[in-house]
Amino acid sequence: MTTITQIKNDPALDDWQPLDIGGWLRRDVFGTVWHILFAIILVGTNLLVIQATFNAAPVELSFTLAPNGNIGTVGNIILALTNGAFLTSLVLLLWIVGAGVVIWGVVRHKLSGPIQWLKDSMYTGFFGALTTLFLLILIVFATRGLLAWGLFGANFSTNPDAVAILRDVTPGAVWGIVGANMKLFAVGRYPYDAVWRVWVSLAIVIVLSTLSLFAWSLGSPLKKYRPWLVYAWLASMPITLLLLYGIPGTDTGIMMTVRTNLWGGFLLTVVIAVLGIVLSFPIGLSLALGRRSEAKGVPMLWLMGGGIVFLLLYWMTGGYPTESATFNLPIIFRDPPLYPVTLTVWQNTTLQAFAVLGVLWLVGYYLNGNLIKTFCIGYIELIRGVPLITVLFMANVMLPIFLPKEIEIDNLFRVVVGVILFSAAYLAENVRGGLQSIPKGQYEAAMAVGLSTSQSMRLIILPQALRAVIPALVGEFIGLFKDTSLVSIVGLFDLLKIAQTVIAQPDWLGLQRETYVFIAFIYWIFCFAMAAVSIRIEKNLGVGQY
C-alpha cells in the first residue's frame, strides 16, 4: 500500500512532461557552464596575478638604506624579504598548507576551532578558496607597496637642503615636510612662547579622560567620584579656553592674549569640534523635546494681543514709518529687473500690521498656538534644508552686514556658533527618534507613581531614549569632526587649510601625497577613537542587554 502511494506521489512520475528544455538548459547546461566559466576566470586571474607579482620589480631603497647605491645589511634583508618571487611563493605555500589542513580536518571529521574558522571564512568551497588566494596576494603586495613608499624608500630628514640634494634619488616619501612643519600642523601660528599653555590644556584633558575611563568601567572603585568628574569636565571647558586665549587685554607676560586668528591646525580643528559637540548637544535635546511638546496652545486672543502690543512697542520705539518709502522689488523678465514700489505711510503701516498679525493667526489656527513646537519645527527644517557651508558663509559674510559697524565679532566665534546651530538640528532629529521609540506605557507608569513631567523625562524617558540612539549620536559627532574641515573655506586655518599652506612652501614643493596621507591619518585616528569610546559606553550602559 505504502509503496504504491509513494510512487504515485513521486513528483518525477506525477509531473512528467514531454521535454522541459528550458529547465534542462537552466539547471544542467548553464548551471554548469557558468560555473565552469567562472572557475576558468578565477583560475586565470589567479595565475595572472601570481605571475605578475612573481616578476614584480624589487623595491627601491632610500639613501639611508643604500648610501651612494651601496646597499647595507639592513637594506639587503629588506630586499630579500620583499622580493616578489619570495613573497608570492610564501603566500602560495601558506595557501596550500591552509587548504591541506582544512581538507585533512574534513576527511578526519575533526575540526578544531581555528580550522573550523579557516574552513568557514577562507576556504568556503572551491570558489572561496580561489578568491582567498587572489585577495591574499593583493593585500600582501599592497602592503609591500605602501611600506616601500612610506618606509624603505622614504627620506626622513627634516633639513630642506639635505632633502633637496637627495630629492632625485629618493624613490619614496619625503616625510621631512611633516616633521619640519609639526608645529604648524599642531597649533598653526600660535606663538612659540605660549605653546606650553596648549600642552597644559592637553594634559588636563588627558588626565580627565584617563580618570573617566577608570571611573566609568564596570565595578570601578572610583564610581562615587563620577559626579565630581562631570563637574571637572564642565569646568575644564572654560579653563582650557582661558588658557588658550590668555587673559583678554594683556599683551605681555605668560598669560598674554593669543587672538584666535593665530590658532590653527589640529588645535583649531579640535576646538571647533569639541565646542560644537558639547554645546550643540543640549540645544539639540531642547529642540527635540520642544518639537514633541504638546503645550496647550496659546489662545488666539493672547496671540493677537501679544502681536498688537509688539507692533505698538515697535512703532513707539522708532519703527513707525514717518514718510513714504520706496522699495525695489526684484522682477523677473524685466530690464532693469527692479521694480520700485512706493508705499505711503498708511500703506506701510497696514502692511506691517498684516504681516505680524497674519503670521500669529496662522500659528494659532493651524498649530493650535503651540509656539514652541512651531519654532522647533521651523528651525530644524530650515537648518536641515541648507548645507553646512551655507551656514558658515551666513555666519561669516552675512552676519556683519546685519550688525552695526562698531560691533566686530571674532571670526572663530562666528564659525563655532554656525557649527553649533547646524549640528543641533541634526542631533535634535536623532534624539527625537529615540524619544519616539519609548512606549506610551513608560510615560503612564512614570505619571502613575507620581513623578512630575520633568522628573519622568529626566529619570525615565531620556535615559532610555538617549541610550537607544548612542550609535546615531556618535555618528553625528564623527560627522561633525570631519565637517570642521569646511571652515578652511571661510578663512580659518584648520588642519586641512594648514596642509594646503604647507604644500605651498617653496622648500617642500610638490609633496601633496605625504601631507594629505598624514592629515588623513590624523583624522582617522580621532574618528576611530570616538567610535571606540562609543562602543565602550554602549557596553558599560548595557545597551541591548534588557
Binding site: 506605557g441 513608560q442 507608569a445 502613575a448 507613581v449 513623578l451 512630575s452 529619570l459
Partner: protein, 250 residues
C-alpha cells in the same frame, strides 16, 4: 464575615469623557468606600479602562466631578500630584522601567516624590518585595524576570509609595495561566490587609471570592452594581445576563 467599610474615598458624579467625537464615559456615578474591593466587569470597549484611568488623571474627564481622598481632580497640577501619591496603579503590560533594577524601580518614586532617604526607601522597597514574595530578585533587571514576577514587581512599585487606593487594569491578562495565580494571590493578600482596591479583571474566581462589589460597565456607563453573589446568581439587567451567559459559556 461582614467587612466594616470606612468613609467614601472615591466619589464620581456624572463623569463624562469624550475622545474627539466619541463619547467614551456617559455620566458615571458611584462611590467607593475605604477598604472596599471593587471588581469592574464589562464587554470590550465599554470604557472600563477609561474610567479607571480617569481616577488618577491618566485620562482627563471633561464633565462632572471626581473626588479622590477628599481632593477634587481638576486642572490644578498640585491636586493631580497629590492624588497620584495616594493612588497606586498596575497595568496590563507591567510598564516597568527597563533601565533600572527591580529595587531601583521600586525606590525611584519614594525617593523622588516622597523625598525619602535612599536607605529608608530601600528598606521599604525590600519590605514590599518580600510582601510580593520575590525579595531575591532585587538586583535583577526587569528583562530578566518572568511575566508573573514582573507584574509582582509592578505591584511592589505601586505599594512602595504607601498608597491608600490601588487600581488594577487587567493585571493578569498578559500572563500565562500558571503565573496568574501568583499575581491573584498577592492581590488577595492586599485585600485581606484592608487595601481599597479597584480592579478590572476577567478572573471570575477573584470577583466571587474577594470582591465586596461588582460594577458592570456597558457603553460608557455603569449598568449594574451589586454584591458578587447576587450579581452572578441573579443579575438584574438584561445586558448583564447576556454578558454573564457569554463568559460562562467559555
Amino acid at each position: 464575615m461582614v467587612k466594616e467599610l470606612g468613609a467614601p474615598v472615591i466619589v464620581c458624579e456624572d463623569v463624562h469623557k469624550w475622545y474627539g467625537d466619541f463619547h467614551a464615559l456617559r455620566g458615571v456615578n458611584t462611590t467607593v468606600r475605604e477598604g472596599e474591593v471593587v471588581v469592574i466587569l464589562g464587554p470590550s470597549g465599554s470604557g472600563k479602562s477609561t474610567w479607571i484611568r480617569t481616577l488618577n488623571r491618566l485620562e482627563e474627564h471633561q464633565r462632572g466631578r471626581i473626588i479622590v481622598h477628599g481632593t477634587e481632580l481638576n486642572n490644578d497640577v498640585r491636586n493631580i500630584q497629590e492624588i497620584r501619591r495616594e493612588v497606586g496603579m498596575v497595568f496590563q503590560q507591567f510598564n516597568l522601567f527597563p533601565h533600572l533594577t527591580v529595587l531601583e524601580n521600586i525606590t525611584l518614586a519614594p525617593i523622588q516624590v516622597r523625598k525619602w532617604s535612599r536607605d529608608r526607601a530601600e528598606e521599604e522597597g525590600m519590605k514590599q518585595l518580600t510582601r510580593v514574595k520575590i525579595p531575591e530578585q532585587a538586583s535583577k533587571y526587569p528583562g530578566q524576570l518572568s511575566g508573573g514576577q514582573q507584574q509582582r514587581v509592578a505591584i511592589a512599585r505601586a505599594l512602595a509609595m504607601q498608597p491608600k487606593i490601588m487600581l488594577f487594569d487587567e493585571p493578569t491578562s498578559a500572563l500565562d495561566p500558571e503565573m496568574i495565580k501568583e499575581v491573584l494571590d498577592v492581590m488577595q493578600d492586599l485585600a485581606n490587609d484592608g487595601m481599597t482596591i479597584l480592579a478590572v479583571t476577567h478572573e471570575m474566581g477573584f470577583a466571587r471570592n474577594v470582591a465586596d462589589r461588582v460594577i458592570f460597565f456597558d457603553e460608557g456607563n455603569i449598568v449594574e452594581e451589586n454584591k458578587p453573589n447576587t450579581f452572578f446568581s441573579n443579575p438584574r439587567e438584561e445586558r448583564s445576563k447576556l454578558f454573564l451567559q457569554q463568559i460562562l459559556h467559555h
